[in-house]
Amino acid sequence: MNINTTREWVHGLTALILGLFLLGISSGLGIVKNIVDIWSAFLSVPEYPAVIMREMFLNWRAWSRDKDFLNVEVTKLREENANLRLELSKMTGEKIYSDDKQKNESKTARVTLRAPMSWWNEIRIDKGEIDKITQGIPVYHDGYLIGRISSVSKMSSWAELITSPSFMIPAVIEETRELGVVVGDGSGTVLLRYIPAGRGGRNGMKVSTAMIGEELPPGLPIGKISNEMTTGSDGYATYKIELGADLSRFYTVSY
């Protein structure tokens, strides 16, 4: 082995050891998250044309493929929405609010990072303080709650997903008005806990956020009950929730 080959091996092995060292220590370090944010903010400049081109491409594809279907769907939903608003106004005696106010309320953000190590726990989106994002606001996909903003920086934010074990919110079964707590298990499943057992089947019933929560407004749709998992000795059951949003296929969120 000549001197050049030895040098190449020394450099190569040093780089490998350094890589392994970084891999070993960085998963638990908060500073890595900051570096990731700074690097992504820097790259957002050269990536900007790609984002615009992708949006144009997706819009064009969606328009060409789903135009007719969407038109029918939108008309149907508008009618349904109008009827529901009418019902609500009859029940509460309130005036029907203007459509214009609601139109611009929902904004869209792009998911810029979903780290494999925390796949079911958090995502990063490309909107931050300058887009008026604040900590604690809910994040939706397809109109269903999927999480809430956990930390905000200048140009990006992190959102904790509903599947995270630390995401616990009060929720209500809409059909029975029973209250419970929605909690994730960190591996893609969302559970509804503390529901009194033995009061009949609840499969297919809708679950939304409850009024007793302080951070999230009531009535945000979450999903529906899919099946009962366990019943504890204390007389309370745990149900599995089928989320309304598909957490395996989302590239954008609304807030």
């Binding site: 960085s26 998963s27 790609a50």
Partner: protein, 154 residues
């Protein structure tokens, strides 16, 4: 400079594809440079370039530095050892399959590490898709490699 541009193009295409796995253009560039390189200093430079490219890729797309960093360095070491074992005269002709294999390794090893370590069916699906997308990129790179090799020998 060309490697910086290739890294940025790879990042650009990944954003355009919505985070999908696209061919590792940066590593194809590194392998090409290694195949034309004849100095030991050049090899050292490429080891650390691959290392830096891997860290930056990990920070952008994986969130944890180390996965592509290690993969890239392993690829460079393999290419240096295999290509270095062939005498310069033998590198001109009859190495098509070898070049194809070295370029394929550059597309196979770096994305395999995150899947092996983190696991998951989705990860394997993405990995296999990336391999399928990489094939045309490898063939195009080989075409340019052969052209440049011919120019060099004439």
């Amino acid at each position: 400079m060309i490697l910086v541009i290739l890294w940025l193009i790879q990042d650009f295409l990944t954003v355009f594809a919505g985070g999908m796995q696209i061919p590792g253009l940066f590593m194809l560039g590194v392998v090409c440079k290694l195949l034309f390189n004849e100095s030991s200093d050049g090899n050292l430079y490429l080891i650390w370039t691959a290392f830096a490219g891997g860290i930056l890729w990990d920070l952008r797309w994986i969130g944890i530095p180390g996965f592509f960093t290690i993969g890239n360095v392993i690829v460079v070491l393999i290419v240096i050892q295999i290509w270095g074992a062939i005498p310069p005269q033998g590198r001109i002709s009859g190495t098509g399959w070898l070049v194809f294999m070295l370029m394929s390794i550059s597309q196979l090893i770096p994305p395999m590490l995150p899947v092996l370590i983190l696991g998951g069916n989705t990860g394997w699906e993405f990995f296999l898709m990336r391999q399928a997308y990489s094939l045309p990129a490898i063939l195009i790179t080989m075409y340019f490699f052969n052209r440049k090799m011919k120019e060099k020998t004439v």
